[in-house]
Amino acid sequence: MDNAIRLDSIVKIYPGVKALDGVSFSIEKGHVHSLVGENGAGKSTLIKVISGAVVPDSGTIYVDEKSYSRMNPALSGELGIGVIYQEYNLVPSLSVLENVFLGYRVGGKFFPDTKKMRERLNEVMDRLDIRLDPDAMVSTLSVAEQQFVEITKSLVRNVKVLIMDEPSATLSNKDVDKLFDVITHLKEEGVTVIYISHRMEEIFRISDDVTVMRDGKHIFTGPISEVDTHSLITMMVGREISETYPERHSPIGEAVLEVEHLYGNGDRDISFVLHKGEILGLAGLVGAGRTELAKVLYGAVPKEKGIIRVKGKEVTFRNPEDAVACGIGLIPEDRKGEGAFLNYSILWNSVIMALKKDARGIFVDDKKMEKKAEELSKTFQIKAPSLEQLVRNLSGGNQQKTVLAKTFAADTDILIFDEPTRGIDIGVKHDIYKLMNEIAERGVSIIMISSEMEELIGMSDRILVLHEGDMMGEVPKERFDSRYILKLASGIKEE
């Protein structure tokens, strides 16, 4: 048995997170090897270690049984390792030919040998059975065709191991068939393919082997014939949900937010009801349209059609200002880019949304604001030497608490949390959960988007599952089961 790549005890630690925790497994030459795991399982970090984009803290990478303690992009390229990321690395304004040979010299020092390039391109495309016009501008191609350009680009460079990160995520079913034909051809050429996908049926269709990752640990590697959907999902989710979530005693009241057949921002036909004091979870994989839905509900992106009712009144938001006026608040996923004003103080941040409401005429009531900020920082347990501290200098958890305080200060009573604990230390996560429960007990209704199944199940009263912009179902508390929810999120709708 020949291994294309073998990993031995790879460890990568980020502040607060063990992204890779002693991962060891091998990838057989000429096989299609699938890599599966939940969001945050460590798949991305792993492929970055192989491609050289990330340097591991310890461990050994074997390529063709030659050992390396680390890779770098140039070296991995020389060894014939290529990666196709979800975001393509193409120049839209250049032709297929130019893109394929971008940064790869064929011919003399100054003048490229276009004829030779063309021959080589045609030869590779013939082998893979890809039909593309070498002179077509990349911007005129479909997403699938652009992917073929990427694949061709790798093959022209004599790639031996091709890593594909969610290649099917943006493709239609028909294009996926075409992609699989190409992958089959790649296999015939002796190319090893590492295939990352969330779609179970694809994994079973295309793979020879499969590796399961969870929480940065290697769980399983073996032939695909040894597993089935059920056992794969069980391995991905793993342990039973631990009881670390604080209890909440809030009576669930009347409907405060009703959404009927809502379309917009890539989401289709979404309907649900949110009640007072309730936490509604929003589950789905990357690209399921959860953040997109949040932006529509918050007026940051206009809806296309459908009805949104807040406290019984139908509303149409032109911008977030309208949504805030109706009592809706958003705690964005990108805390630093969209949530906080990093260069300003905690005091400044925490009252910015309350300034107008509590103003005397057009003048800010500074004394009142200072008092308010003090109360907020107590309520939300923001730990800092003073309120004058710049938010830039706070830890992730305290930044999140500041954003939360800011949103809460606007008297919002429907809060949308987008990944509330992403990048936050485990100890502080618990604080955030407690705060969410406390405000729910005060009668605030919460929509929580999360990619962590455990967190969703631990915190939510109900869970709404999205898959590629479609609503797959609404799961009541008594039916909470991570396997069931993950199945729905993967687009499998069966009992």
């Binding site: 911008n319 977030p320 958003l330 990093l342 200098n393 800011k406």
Partner: protein, 326 residues
């Protein structure tokens, strides 16, 4: 801790300290530099620049740059010149029309930036040429005059010992300082400069805020132009262009970050005065206009360089503190 406080005071008043240093240097070169007459003279010469700078400061605090200011001034100037020379329009009307025109010109820029979803910088690269062309066309490149005594009083009159222009400029600075620091509209401008997307998602109406900034920019540019034309006595298309350069450099020297979100109006006043004293000094030293261009350009680059340096330097400091916490 005490060290920190002194550092903070120094950093917050940097423009005034530089102004002080520059003044002391020049008082050695020219003994009567610190005379009351000379100080009042410098203030009076620069009142119109400071007034314009108030408007541009709001734009820059929100993280944008307007290059068309000088050409707006040119167009506003010749409009007033035409109205007075051809129609003999009385001064109160001239002032009102100038203000209206200023607001319209700067709102055209704002509107285009919003609709085309590009930066004000890009828009004004285009509109500056348009405004310039209109100005030369309607004035036929002629000197326009005929302003009455009332109009001339704006820049040449005195209230007691203080020039009228200095007095109203001082008032403008005080009022707009209060506006920026004490009203929620002012905070919104800082919010836009600090993080526009966070501002939008905080429920701040970014479009309205930008239109408001455009309003004030136009207002103060027009007021500045009125003061300038009153000083010069005649209007010509060539009067105005170039001011944007002095204003932007002064604002940067005054502590407003090129990325927006930082700075104070009082600092901007100091920044403009630094530019004025340096220009004054170069004149005294007998440097020609073109050599002064070279010097001013270098000062501007230095101001931007210092701004960027401060940003990166601060980042490093922050990284250290977080490490300590961990």
């Amino acid at each position: 801790m005490k060290n920190m406080n002194i550092q903070k005071i120094v950093r917050n008043n940097m423009p005034w300290l530089i102004l002080l240093a520059v003044s002391i240097i020049f008082s050695f070169i020219s003994p009567n530099f610190f005379s009351i007459a000379n100080v009042i003279n410098i203030l009076n010469q620069n009142a119109y620049i400071i007034t314009c700078a108030i408007g541009i400061t709001l734009v820059m605090m929100a993280g944008q740059i307007d290059l068309s200011v000088g050409y707006q001034m040119s167009l506003i100037g010749v409009t007033m010149g035409l109205l007075v020379q051809k129609l003999g329009m009385p001064t109160p009307w001239l002032i009102l029309i100038a203000i209206a025109e200023g607001i319209i010109l700067s709102e055209i820029n704002t509107f285009l930036a919003l609709k085309l979803k590009i930066t004000l910088l890009m828009v004004t690269v285009g509109t500056m040429t348009v405004y310039n062309g209109i100005s030369f066309t309607i004035s036929e490149s002629k000197n326009l005059s005929g302003f009455d005594a009332m109009f001339k009083f704006i820049a040449k009159g005195y209230v007691g010992p203080i020039p009228f222009a200095v007095l109203i400029t001082f008032l403008f600075v005080v009022i707009m300082s209060i506006f920026l620091n004490k009203t929620y509209y002012g905070r919104y401008i800082y919010a836009l400069g600090g993080n526009e997307e966070a501002a939008r998602l905080s429920g701040i109406n970014v479009t309205k805020t930008k239109l408001m900034i455009g309003f004030f920019e136009g207002l103060f540019v027009a007021l500045g132009t009125i003061m300038l034309i009153s000083r010069v006595g005649t209007a010509h298309s060539g009067t105005g262009p170039g001011t944007e350069f002095t204003v932007i450099t002064g604002i940067l020297l005054g502590g407003v970050s090129i990325r927006g979100g930082e700075g104070k109006l009082s600092g901007v006043v100091a920044g403009i005065l630094i530019m004025a004293i340096l220009a004054n000094g170069m004149q005294l030293a007998g440097w020609g206009t073109y050599v002064q261009f070279i010097a001013k350009g270098i000062i501007m680059l230095a101001a931007i360089g210092f701004d960027v340096y401060q940003m990166t330097h601060r980042k490093i400091v922050v990284d250290k503190t977080t490490e300590e916490k961990n």
